[in-house]
Homo-oligomer: 345 residues x 2
Amino acid sequence: MNPILVLGGGPAGLSATAELASLGAPTLLVERESYLGGNPKRWHYSLLAPDLRPAEEVMDPLLERVTGRPEVELRLGTTLTKAERTATGFSVALRSADTTVTREVSAVVLATGFDHFDSRRKFEYGYGRYPDVLDFKELEGMIHDDKVLRPSDGRPPKRIAWILCVGSRDVQVGNPWCCRMGCAVSIKQAVEIRQKHPEIDAYVYYMDIRTYGLWEDLYWKSMQEYGVKFIRGRIGQVTVAEGGSRLIATGEDTILSRPTEVPFDMIVLASGMEPGTGTKQAAELFGVPVGPEGFLTPRLSDLNPVDSGIPGVFFAGAATGPKAIPDAVTEGMGAALRAFQYARR
Amino acid sequence: MNPILVLGGGPAGLSATAELASLGAPTLLVERESYLGGNPKRWHYSLLAPDLRPAEEVMDPLLERVTGRPEVELRLGTTLTKAERTATGFSVALRSADTTVTREVSAVVLATGFDHFDSRRKFEYGYGRYPDVLDFKELEGMIHDDKVLRPSDGRPPKRIAWILCVGSRDVQVGNPWCCRMGCAVSIKQAVEIRQKHPEIDAYVYYMDIRTYGLWEDLYWKSMQEYGVKFIRGRIGQVTVAEGGSRLIATGEDTILSRPTEVPFDMIVLASGMEPGTGTKQAAELFGVPVGPEGFLTPRLSDLNPVDSGIPGVFFAGAATGPKAIPDAVTEGMGAALRAFQYARR
């Protein structure tokens, strides 16, 4: 059997590769970056919502299951530049540095994932201009090292605000969808900080709190046990106070129905999810339909997200829409099973 | 190989069974009810959120894949009464009517699902006392047959209200978790009704709208294209107006910060999800840990929801927490793969 191609080495792609290998299927794992692990690795995720388990404890077993396995051929720093259907599957061109090789594969799992929204595009929040306005990915590293300090002056902040839905649910920036994990991750960060530094006040500005399913527990705990404060409202602008040492969040409290203008030492932006860099390209190469949001469209989204409807092409993870890690991993299993069945048909 | 036992014939169990059969594994599908299809079948789900595809179009292919297959032994109207670990898997006792048989199985997929919250327990809403207060499961059938009429007098309603989170996010009834689909299903119902009957006004009372991920599109469309109205607030009580022909919803509008008392012709309760009847029993029989909510607890909920951590026991679907159909189906695939690997080890 020609190998099964897994495109993308994040949680979904790692999961698919691990399962294919355990089924004894030769697997070709292609990742454009020079490392495996996807966004969790790239951005040094700290603890994962909702159970506050270290990201390494979740990612390492996945990485272990694909490394050093005879069934798995790993190609890092590699992109796909061509795909043509053949009698037995696809012929694909793989480019790394300035070399291109052609390979025959029997099926394809597209696990091209997501990119975090670039918070600079929401310019009214001052990200990139004000050093104490952070993206929540950056705060992950600070929390991980227990060094939650203002980048501007190295001082510990007294008041931190999280602004949810930055580049999500926002027609203005062209991203009307919800990122599915911004609420839970922000609340988790606020809890982590309040656990270690109860002297820091934590405020979360939200439209709707979407700790769906059993994640709700995290939301309630954050209020009742950790005193995280929630303000329903949309922040329109972040400015710097006279003197320059504090940030001012201006907007509307939609519960009190009044304008709000509150000083903070640090403001954290919960940046949304967009289709991954490789997703659009992969869609074109394999002729996969893409929705208005730019994510890959499963054949029957109401039935399962792994079947593309195109023979030999399967999906896993955030390539089809924002997704938390466990769902991406489960979809990796499903896509592996389907691809295996297709390849050995 | 002894068969793999799949416990539960809803979307997750059907998916697991279909995949096991396609892998050539002998599979024993046990369902306590006299039919397959789980809650979607039991409650005659109409169109599914978010794509408004008829439930049959999603469920029928699943049902087809398990019926008449030589690998699948189907036992309806059957419950599990005993499970003991053996050298090769488990010995289980299956009871149907007054007969009990013992079978050897090599692995187990627990797909015991959920039960809808019994809306009568939220007695202040008058479900079971006022005929025009419906559970949203009942409205599914009415929409399906295009007979949305007041049960009290058979007249078409002019104003319908949906109350979200009935038996969800509610410490009072002991269900603090979120049901994950109440928002989307209610909005979908309001859209379906407004599509066919634009003369009917639709109001949704909510705490947070949780149309997570790409489901957000449904929420915006419901407002912009179908004029569904959203009121942020908690309804405390439903009463009957003097004269008896209209219902009165009393509560607080938390955006306008004022009490609200609004008449409706029909009130629809979005009842939550609770662990399925068989879930607790299955947990006891197989020694599976159960969380404070009563759902089965995966070994690493941050990694994947299908591995129980107990050799030979796997999970799929709402047995581990509220879940939409596509996620349940995908978990069925994952659990099938894991159970297959375990059984043939």
